[in-house]
Amino acid sequence: MPPPAQSGVFDESAFVTRAKLGDTAAFAELVSQYERKIFRLAKHITQNDEDAEDVLQESFLKAYEHLGDFQGNSKFYTWIVRIAVNEALMKLRKRKTDRTVSLDESIDLGEEPVVREIAVWEDNPEQRYSQTELREILDNAIDSLRPAFRTVFVLRDVEDLSTEETAAVLNLSIPAVKSRLLRARLQLREKLTRFFRRKGDDVFAYL
């Protein structure tokens, strides 16, 4: 008997093993575990509900189809994220032809990380907003980043992949992931400052 998984932690490997043996209920369990995250990821990259749904379906269908090739060297979750990112980027490239979609390394040249806004934020500033408002603020902030930065940020800081996993998923070098992550984080803090800054510090508050 395998030891029981820690409470609250989803032990995906048991489900993967069963799914590989043809247990469709086990595969359905993997789907229910990760569909929300994959849909969110797809929405962040494609910025379009319809494309995100296509990505969601195609990713899980592909994963099912290629389950036999999944060796278990990485987590199933990282594997499905990788499939989904590739599907989502393909969608994005089909829709847009401009070079901002390019994720290749040349994008990192000639740009220094910058800081413009220096304003103190409240403690727990997110509590100023309802969950719905907060989601909208955060989604808009992510959506305003360029695809190359947005994708790295979502994988590292929203989906919690490691730098190495993010680099592998996006076929980027580790320094490229680090440099994009820094710029994405700094740009997001700039964008969020107007929502989260301490009220009394705003010189325009009384206008």
Binding site: G22, F39, L181, R185, L186
Partner: protein, 82 residues
């Protein structure tokens, strides 16, 4: 003493609590002395905290149902080879 530019380049690892402990100590020293960099550090830390705290939303019921239906068709057509 780190410059503000050095601080910015070390910020990621400092926030992720990774990297060389000696550099981390110097970053700490810098933000204690430099109010602007302290604000950048604090607000970026809060940015990450806010994003990480957000649970993914339930996916719309119809999206879930269409996904399950597509998978069922696939499973019926191509059972896993055992």
């Amino acid at each position: 003493m780190l410059t503000c530019k050095d601080f910015l380049n070390e910020l990621n690892e400092y926030l992720d609590e990774t990297g060389d402990p000696e550099i981390r100590r110097r970053v700490q020293e810098h933000i204690e002395e430099c109010p602007n960099c302290w604000v950048v550090f604090d607000t970026t830390k809060k940015t990450l905290h806010i994003f990480k705290g957000l649970e993914p939303q339930e996916i719309p019921r119809d999206v879930h149902e269409r996904l399950m239906a597509a998978l069922q068709r696939k499973c019926a057509a191509h059972p896993q080879r055992v």
